[in-house]
Symmetry: C2
Subunit: 293 residues, 2 copies
């Protein structure tokens, strides 16, 4: 609302965090998805595809880095491509970096470090992911663009106060020692390694190795991810357990995409992940909508 | 956003809580003010004045009852007038009842109790005022309109979670004994009685007796409330103290109104209120922009 007018357009690589749709509706802004594919591990689509989507109404590109739902971590080269696009067409780069501390393969390149793009970058972060403080509802918007800051301050003043208890908790969290994330990152990385290994061992399943966050996308031999995710909860169990995963369809804006993909969140311990993958394999073996792919 | 489309209009008696402007901007909705006057104690303007403002774009009337900033408590007759208007023109009645427990003169008539208006009423409440939990950021939207509820649920789901700590505090607060408010109301009423009495004793000052909330509006013999409120903070002191009050101009949407009015919040104890009124009287005696009215 501080950067875009009603009717403006924002380009977002899909699959993307589904709530961006809700925020766009609230701001009367149109989301133009640009499709990334599981077959390339959800790499940034080529620059030409972005340029085909750009209209006079296009005011911003939004990325989530590392990504929810794909876990994809954008490379320096990809960030440079985004920078050139934003400079050429005078676009904002909204960079959701809520998972920036959770990178395992490759280095996190923050949009805030793209030289020459200072006036275009709006970075977002939150204590919810960074400090496992879901429900805290304390976030940060970081920009060097003074005009944007001035507009944002008006909204902040209308909001009066972020939640007070979580402000106190958030302030304390910021003072955690520098090595706070080391143990957490090591744990998540070992979970990721295990999850990706076990997924790719299941016949017909493909899971690219995500560089960060705590999500992985997997392609399954199924007819319809929504049906499968409902079926495994309602109609399947193995040793009195089942698995809850997200159908990928909700993360794609283009209708029909993601029908044989799911998102997994590796927020369980290693033993639970192992059991879950056994359960998933058993489920796929008997799922009525199994395909041969 | 759940009830109105961009470009729709909402009628609000002014002076009104200034943040309604911000919310309206965020929702792309236009506020049409209808002026109530300090000379009638901020009673509801006549029904004809409402009807003059109604256009095909008018979708709602918004009231705050008891009112911020005036403390005005709408009578049963006034609530019936609003009901007839909403039924005749098929309007929503947004009723901000954040101060509903703080009524001293007269009975609070909730919009939710207007028979036959069930489908039009959207009631709002919050723990911030009710339980003196400012910064909690836990509110409630209450309606019997199922379509509105369905739309609101979509926004609630996009929001994911209200602040978690304040949810816990709010749930505990709801379990307070029924007599919790008695002592608090008695204290506020004694502050109101004292404040209004002392204000009206100051030469040139007029303060109608507010029925509820913890605010009072006063007309002062001054040229410009914004200037006065800044001057008393920056350039005046009496016995090393001064008083902070709000210029009323920010509560009026019509330019030029409220220039000789201020809002006082009686959230101080009685002794501090007494000292503040001495200080205010001394200030008015020497304020360079004093008028003769």
């Amino acid at each position: 609302m501080a950067c875009l007018d009603p009717g403006d357009e924002v380009i977002i690589p899909e699959p993307f965090y589904a709530n961006y749709n809700g925020f766009a509706v609230a701001a009367n802004v149109h989301v133009k998805p640009i499709t990334s594919s599981i077959d390339t591990g959800f790499a940034l689509p080529p620059i030409e595809q972005f340029e085909q989507l750009i209209t006079p109404k296009t005011k911003a590109i939004l990325i989530c880095n590392p990504n929810n739902p794909t876990g994809y971590l954008y490379s320096r080269e990809e960030m440079e491509v985004l920078k050139q696009l934003c400079l050429k067409y005078n676009l904002f780069l909204f960079s959701d970096e809520a998972y920036r501390e959770f990178c395992y393969t490759g280095k996190h390149i923050s949009a805030a470090n793209l030289e020459g793009l200072e006036n275009n970058v709006i970075l977002m972060d939150t204590i919810s992911k960074r400090y496992s403080a879901c429900g805290g509802r304390i976030g940060a918007l970081v920009t060097k663009n003074q005009q944007v800051l001035d507009a944002v301050m008006k909204f902040a003043q209308a909001r009066l106060s972020p939640p007070s208890f979580a402000q106190i908790a958030g302030e304390a969290a910021v003072d955690l020692p520098d090595d706070y994330f080391n143990e957490i990152k090591a744990e998540y990385q070992s979970r990721r390694d295990l999850l990706v290994e076990l997924l790719n061992k299941i016949p017909g399943v493909f899971c690219p190795n995500p560089g960060g966050a705590f999500y992985a996308m997997a392609k399954l031999p199924i007819d319809d991810a929504d049906k499968f995710c409902q079926w495994i909860l309602e109609s399947f169990s193995y040793e009195q357990q089942t698995v809850m995963v997200s159908p990928a369809t909700g993360f794609y804006a283009t209708p029909g995409l993601g029908k044989n993909e799911i998102r997994l969140a590796y927020v369980l311990n290693r033993e639970d992940i192992s059991n879950a993958m056994i359960c998933l394999e058993k489920a796929l073996a008997v799922y009525p909508g199994r395909t041969n792919s």
